[in-house]
Every structure is written in C-alpha cells, then in structure tokens.
C-alpha cells in the first residue's frame, strides 16, 4: 500500500523519464509515459496517541472530570425533585437573568436539563479520553449474493407459482382476481361512506339565509346585524364614517351548538364610507346600492383560503387579509387589488328596519369563502 515513505514523494517514473513526453495542454494522460494512471492510496496515517493514553496523571484528571459531570447530573435530578415537591404549580418568582417566571417550570426544567446534560457530556468526555482511541478497519463485502443464489430465489418463486397451479387453472386465477378486487370495496365504502355527509347546498347557504330548523331548513327572515361578540343590534346611526363593526345575523350567538360552523360562513364586516368615496363605476355603484347610506357589509371570509379578513385601512378603504395579504378595495365592491385571491368578497345587501336597526335585505347570493370546483 505504502510504496513511498518520503513525505514529499515524487512520482518515480518506471519508464522513460523524458519529461517532454508529458504535455499538460494535451489534457489528462492515462498511464502514459510509464506513469501510473492515478495516485495510490497511501494507507492510514500513523496513529498518534492521546495524552491520556501515555500519561496516567492526565488519565486520572479525565476520570475526575467525568465523575464530576456525573455528580452534576445527580445534583440536577435532586434539584428537580426539590422543585417538584416544595413549590405549588402556580408559584411564580423573580429569577436573576430571566425575570419573573413559573417557579416549578424553571426548577424542573433546569434540574432535568442538568440531570441529562451531566450524563451526556460525561459519557462523551469518557469516550474521547479513556476509551480506546485507535481507529479500526473493517472490510466491506459486496452486498449482492452469488448468481446461483439469485437464481435459486427466482426458482423458488417460479416453483411456488407452479406448485399452486394458478397458471394452469384459469378458473381459479380469474375468480380470485375478481374476489380480491371486490373485497376491497366493503372496506373502502365503509370508510368513505361514513366519514361525512355530502356537501349538498351547505356551501351556498349561511345563517343569513336563516338558522336551520329541526329539519335543517333555513327560511330568510331579514335578520338584524348584531355585534360579535356583544350580541347587540346596531343602528345605522351608530355606524360613523371610518368605523368598523364585526357582525353576525341575529340569533346566531344564542345558539348552543354549531356556533363556530355558522360563524365560519356568516361573519361579516360593516364599514361606513362617505357616499362620494365609492368609485364612479359599475362596481362602486353596485356596492353603494347594496348598502345603506354609505354603510356596506361584506363577508369576512377570505375568498382565497378562508381566513377572516380583519384589517381595514380607513384612509384607503382597503380590507387586508392577514394570512396571505390579499387586499380588497371596498370602494370597488371589494375587488381584489393585490394578493393571491381572485374573487371579490361577497357583499351582504343591507337596509334598515322601522326602528332604525341595520338588517339584511337578502341572504348572500353566492357561496362565501374559498373557491371550489362546482361553484360558478
């Protein structure tokens, strides 16, 4: 392996030493001019012993350090136990460097960390200083088995199939195929069939179309807009220019069940704009017409993937979705002016009842929230 022992080994040419035979600009030379094709592996460098291998005093020092780390671990575990049994779960104290903090959390954490790190670092130090430090060479063997062994395996399969006679008896072969194909169906049907109901019209309706009765039917009843979470109806006169209200249809917040499911579709944001702020185009006019006196109501469920669009910039009349920053322009019927959403936020047509409270004039006319295949 180690043919040349000179550290600054030159390659000793075995053939002619006429250096002109080798020209760099001719590219790579393969074993030409009597030189080997590539360098040879010089073999493992000589092992240099560690201090702890040759100096017993150093070894003793390492031993003490390792034992010291293990002792730290013992102290850590005791700290944990003391912390656990002396303090209540809600005790809080001031600790230097970290400030006020849950006492048990800190003592338990620090104790456990010390207990683990003491062992970990101790064992690592031990393995580096005192355990044998010389590398060992193990040889590798080709993974592949011999050709005969592979052929024997293949034979085994072939013989197995022959033994079963499946190829000679088509009746068995095809009926088994059919049976296996069908038997997966019961399992699949059970799972898929029982996981959940079909969507039906559920994506198209919301609590603005009415709350479901015992039969799940919804009848529109021009509900008032109530504040979420105060559950209080609002008068048109409460909505000043620049203010924002988060509302639900009246009755929703009194439900016991399915509150979140209803809110997920019916959350609406209400703003008042100066009627002159609406854009002077079809979109702006429609937005104003569906509102009341500059007050407009829009679905809060983002048409991208459904986050609540909660950030209203008064000066620009932009609604911003916090999830991926889709930006909707209220003056243009909440058309998307930036970001990954495509469709505008659906508008809820509103008006006032005879007491001056804001009510829905009609339910949402399209599904709210993210797009799906069969919506048009």
């Amino acid at each position: 392996m180690n043919e040349q022992n000179q550290p600054s080994a030159e390659v000793v040419p075995t053939g002619t030493s006429d250096a002109d035979a080798v020209r760099l600009d001719q590219g790579h030379i393969h074993g030409e001019g009597g030189y080997p094709e590539a360098f040879e592996n010089p073999g493992l460098p000589p092992h240099t012993p560690r201090l702890t291998d040759i100096d017993e005093a150093a070894a003793k020092r390492a031993e003490r350090q390792i034992a010291g780390l293990f002792t730290l671990s013992i102290i850590g575990s005791i700290l944990f136990l003391v912390g656990y049994f002396t303090f209540g779960v809600d005790a809080r104290n001031w600790f230097p460097g970290v400030g006020v903090m849950s006492t048990t959390h800190l003592l338990l954490g620090a104790g456990l960390a010390l207990g683990l790190l003491g062992i970990g670092l101790g064992v690592l130090h031990w393995s580096r200083t005192l355990m044998p430090g010389e590398e060992i060479v193990e040889s590798r063997h080709h993974l592949a088995s011999s050709d005969e062994q592979r052929a024997e395996l293949a034979d085994t399969f072939v013989k197995g199939v022959e033994g079963s006679q499946i190829n000679r008896r088509p009746l068995i072969k095809y009926s088994l195929g059919g049976a296996l194909g069908l038997v997966s169906l019961p399992i699949l049907v059970q799972l898929v069939g029982s996981l959940g109901p079909l969507p039906k019209d559920d994506l198209y309706v919301s609590a603005w179309s009415g709350l479901p009765d015992e039969n799940g039917k919804r009848t529109f009843s021009a509900p008032r807009l109530v504040l979420d979470p105060e559950n209080r109806p609002i008068k048109a006169s409460d909505v000043t220019i620049g203010s924002v209200f988060h509302v639900q249809p009246e009755g929703l917040l009194d439900l016991h069940d399915h509150v979140l499911e209803e809110k997920g579709k019916s959350s609406v944001i209400v703003m008042r704009l100066d009627p002159g702020d609406f854009a002077d185009n079809d979109l702006g006019r429609k937005a104003r017409d569906w509102g009341h006196d500059g007050i407009v109501a829009y679905s809060k469920i983002c048409t991208h993937v459904g986050c609540p669009v909660g950030l209203y910039e008064q000066t620009t009349h932009h609604l911003l979705c916090p999830c991926h920053q889709s930006t909707f322009d209220v003056t243009q019927d909440c058309k998307v002016i930036f970001g990954p959403a495509k469709r505008p936020l659906p508008q809820l047509k509103i008006t006032v009842d005879d007491e001056g409270y804001l009510i829905a004039a009609q339910p949402f006319m399209e599904p709210v929230g993210p797009s799906f295949w069969e919506r048009d």
Binding site: L124, F338, S371
Partner: protein
C-alpha cells in the same frame, strides 16, 4: 479443559484458583444464546465499525429528537382531551377564565398551567418536533451533497423522503390539536385549499371534517392520526432506515487508508455505543434547556379558535413555511373560470401540487442522477461536494428556491419591520423565485470548479505557505512546499469523470453505462451538462510534468505560474 475434569487428580483442586473465574456475563450470554442462538450475531453487531464525522451526527439528532417527541407525546396523551365539546374555562390562567372554549383547548391550557411540569413536557414536545424536522432536513442535505444516496443506498434515500413527508404531516396534525386561534387558522387554511381540489374538493372536505367546517369530528380524527397512525409509520420506517444503514455499513469520507472496500472507524463497543448514548442525553439536555427558557407556541396568548377572529402576522410552524410562501406568491389570475366550474390554480399549485412534487423529485433524484451518469457501481466513499459541481449546484439552487418561499412567509412582517410596501416585496419575490435559483446554480458550480482548480494547484505546486518564506530568503527556489502523500491523497482521491457519448453502449470502466443499450441523444446531452466542466484529479504524470516545468521556468519567472496551462489542459 473438560478432559482434565473427567479424570480428577488431587492437584486439580489446587489449580482451580488459576482457572479464570466464571464471569457473570458468561451466564447471561449463555442464557440468551440458549433461547435465541444469537450469540454470533450479537457479537458481530457489537464489533461493527462506524466511521466518525460530525456530519454523520445530524441524522442521529433527527432520530433522537423523534424519540424525545414520541416520549413526551405519550406523556401529553395522559392529560390532553381531543374533544370539541364546549366548556367554560375555569383553570388558573386568569385572562381566559370564564371564556367558552373546546375541551381540547382547555386541556392544553391545563397542561400548561395546572399540571406540575406539564408546560415543560409541552414545550419539550414542540421543540423536539421542530428539531426533528430541522435535523431531518439538514441530514438530507448532508446525504445529498456528499452523494451518499448513490447505489446501494437509493432505497434508504426513498425511505428518508417518506419519513420527511410524514414528519411534516405529523407536525401539522400536532399543531392543529390545541385548538387555539393559530391552530384553528391553520386548519381553516387546510380546509380552504383542500376544497380547491378539482371535481371532488367539496366532497373531500365534508368527509374530512365530517360536515361543515370546523365541526366536532376533526379533532378526534387528527388525534388518532397524530398519536397512532403516523407515529407508528414514523417509528417503523425509522427503524428500517437505521437497519439499512447497518446492512450497507456507513459511508465514509475519502482519506488516506479509506477505500471502497473498507470502513475505518470505531467499534460499537465501547466507543460508538458510548458516543451515541452521550449524544442522546446531550440532545435531550439541550432541548430541555431550550424548553425551559424559550416559549414556543404560547397557546394562551390568542385565545380559542373563532372563525371571526384575526391575528396579524399569522404564521405556521416553519416547515409549512414554503407551502404558505408559495400561496402568497401565486397570483390570483391563476384561478380559472371554466364556465360553470372553477379551477383554483392559485391555491392548488402551492398547496396541493407543490408538496407532492417536491417529494417526488426528491425521491427520484438518485435514479435520475444514475441515469445521467450511467454509473451503476456501488459507492461507499463520499464525494466532497466540490467534486460534483453540478450536483452541488442543483442542491444549492433547490435550497435557494426553498429559502425564498420560506422568506415569503414573513413578507408582512418584513414589510412592517423594514417599512417597505408589501406589494413591492411580494413582486420582488415573484421575480426572484425564477431568477435566483439558476443564478445560484451557476455561481455554486463555478465556485466548486475553482475549488477543484485550487486543489489541483496545491497538488501540482505544493502548499502556498512557503510563499511567506519567499520574501524572507529573497530567492525563488523554495516557492512551495510539496504535499506529503497523505495530504495529497485528500486532493486526488476522486475519480475522473467523462460524459456519456451518444450511441455509446458500454465503457471500459466496469459498470459505467455498460447495459448494452445505446446512449440516447437526450441522455448524452444531460450527461454533458453534468460532466463537461468538471475537473479531473491530478495524475502522477501531470505532477511529474509540473515538476519538470517548475525547474525550468521558475527561476526565470517565478510568479508566472502555469495556471493558464492547467486551464488549457482542463478545457480539453
């Protein structure tokens, strides 16, 4: 020994003291071997040699943090209640007292505030999960950049790919369990992008959620996925992964004495076992320290999930970042209106296509590379990344794309912190995602090649250190100190490579494109792309030539090193 025992003589009694005392461990090994016959196998395993390198520890960190997540996760199951039933919170966290919430959220709060040490376990669980996914990815890149995925380890690369996908799903399922505002917002987004699946989207989400979002079914379902289904798969596949490592024997970095036919390192007993044990405790200890002092996922801050509530700067755990980033970059016009149907490519591409695509490409890479290089041999010596410039460049480009998507996730935060317009930032990213990866590929490939050149330079002309001596001596005779054979080996111990040529059927290098099938035009082109610029190691003949060159020219013009010549040679 037994023959003397059968014919007892008086002196035997005296000799007994000389015979090795029966050791306790003999009894133990005998007991086990009587029942399993495993003595030789276990001995073989205990003497197995593992090479030692810091970069081999990253995979261990992944394994250990997974085990820690499993352990702490089992603790959490004793107190966590995956139920969407309503309850009114009356635990000891004052700001939320009297608030209506789900049992799931209330029990996660109880773990944090009313169960001694519960918060520590929760924090350990989440930090271990994060470290698991980080280290898994870094490990994967170590394997990639060193070419450790080549034959015979392609299978293990595929296993690793599946593990990393499962880890992400597991993490997402866990993140959704506490049912606080952030976890509900994450679920809402999941519902929102699943529903965009063409044709079956709305059916799919009604099946997954058992009806209208959020419903009460999703929590128990996620729970059994999170604590049963995926952990079982993770554990099983991780074990298979490690067993395959042992079957293959670990790869090693090239170096003096290391060959394709050996493994140089430390035996399991005592060194490797001790190092692993020490390392496990150390990782566990460090995670505990982090969990003590740094709060992750403070579920009490934002309150329970409410579809009508918003937080600015909502962000998922980091490993979902790239998909979230892609959702931010895809423009809205990609949502196509197909008459009475809607195809939301703006959502689908990022949420439903990107993730599987990334994992398919990742899983297929070893096979693609083998096809391009025509290399069918086993490889147990790793590549230094510079010696595979195209692979290293491709990896760097992939990392760049991933990084851009991750950065995009914080475009809102960045806009606020840097006072930039979010529109400008997003548009910049939209451009960068196309421009930067190819640029990085090109730059990294060039850097690799110049590093290879520098290596050649060192071999041909020795160490540069002696340049300092040049001025001290005033002469030019000792410009460079030649490398000794051990050092030189570091720079020359890789294989020369050549592109496959079109129409070629075999090669004189065993195993290289020797399948007998003709190399197609496309394959030859890929192979040229892969290899054409790579620089091959110095050969003994070249070294000799350089020496010759050295002697004749150096004294005349010491500074004019034959770099141009090398370059000319390399261009071949």
């Amino acid at each position: 020994m037994s023959t003397t025992a059968s014919t007892p003589r008086p002196a035997d009694r005296l000799r007994e003291a000389d015979q090795p005392a029966p050791r306790q461990v003999d009894g133990l090994t005998a007991w086990i071997d009587d029942r399993t016959g495993a003595a030789p196998g276990i001995k073989y395993l205990m003497k197995k040699v593992f090479p030692d390198h810091w970069s081999f520890m990253i995979g261990e960190v992944a394994l250990f943090s997974m085990l820690i997540a499993l352990l702490t996760g089992v603790f959490l199951t004793f107190w966590f209640d995956p139920s969407m039933a309503h309850t009114v919170y009356n635990g000891s966290y004052v700001p939320l007292q009297g608030v209506e919430m789900s049992r799931a959220y209330a029990s996660a709060l109880d773990i944090s505030f009313d169960i001694k040490g519960g918060l520590l376990i929760r924090q350990l669980h989440h930090w271990a999960a994060l470290l698991f996914i980080v280290s898994l990815n870094v490990h994967m890149f170590r394997v990639f950049f060193t070419g450790a995925f080549r034959k015979p380890r392609e299978l293990n690369w595929v296993l690793g790919t599946v593990l990393s996908l499962l880890a992400i799903v597991e993490g997402f399922a866990g993140y959704s369990l506490p049912d606080d505002l952030l976890s509900g917002t994450g679920l809402r987004a999941m519902q929102g992008f699943t529903i965009t699946t063409p044709v079956i989207g709305s059916y799919l989400v009604y099946f997954i959620f058992g009806g209208t979002f959020p419903g009460t079914d999703i929590m128990p379902r996620l729970y059994s996925v999170h604590i049963l289904l995926i952990p079982a798969l993770l554990l099983g596949l991780a074990i298979a992964h490690v067993v395959l490592v042992m079957v293959h024997k670990h790869t090693q970095y090239p170096g003096p004495g290391k060959t394709e036919k050996n493994v140089v390192g430390y035996p399991v007993l005592p060194i490797y076992a001790a190092k692993q044990t020490g390392f496990f405790f150390t990782v566990f200890g460090i995670l505990t320290l982090i969990s003590t002092f740094f709060t992750i996922n403070a579920i009490w801050v934002h309150g329970p999930y409410d579809p009508n509530a918003t937080t600015a700067g909502a962000q998922p755990d980091w490993y979902m970042g790239f998909a979230d980033g892609a959702l931010r970059l895809l423009p809205g016009w990609l949502e196509l209106d197909l008459g009475s149907f809607t195809l939301s490519l703006n959502v689908m591409l990022g949420a439903l296509v990107l993730l599987p695509l990334v994992f398919i490409i990742q899983g297929a890479y070893p096979f693609l590379e083998a096809w391009v290089t025509g290399d069918k041999r086993e490889h147990h010596l790793l590549d230094r990344p510079r010696n595979a410039p195209v692979r290293t460049g491709l990896g760097a480009a992939a990392l760049t794309a991933y990084g851009i998507l991750m950065f995009t996730t914080s475009n809102d935060i960045m806009a606020i912190k840097l006072h930039l317009s979010i529109n400008d930032i997003t548009r910049t990213y939209q451009v960068l995602i196309f421009v930067l990866p190819p640029l990085v590929f090109w730059a990294v490939k060039r850097i690799c090649i110049s590093l290879q050149r520098a290596d050649r330079e060192k071999v041909l002309h020795g160490r540069e250190t002696s340049r300092l001596m040049q001025s001290a001596e005033g002469g030019f005779s000792e410009l460079h100190e030649p490398l000794n054979e051990y050092d030189r080996w570091h720079y020359v111990s890789y294989e020369p490579t050549y592109p496959l040529l079109e129409g070629e059927t075999g090669s004189d290098t065993p195993g290289v494109a020797g399948s007998g099938r003709k190399v197609s035009k496309a394959r030859a082109a890929f192979s040229r792309f892969y290899f054409q610029d790579s620089i091959n190691p110095v050969t003994p003949a070249e070294l000799e030539a350089a020496h010759h060159d050295h002697e004749t020219h150096e004294v005349i013009e010491a500074s004019a090193e034959p770099r141009e010549q090398i370059e000319a040679a390399e261009k071949h």
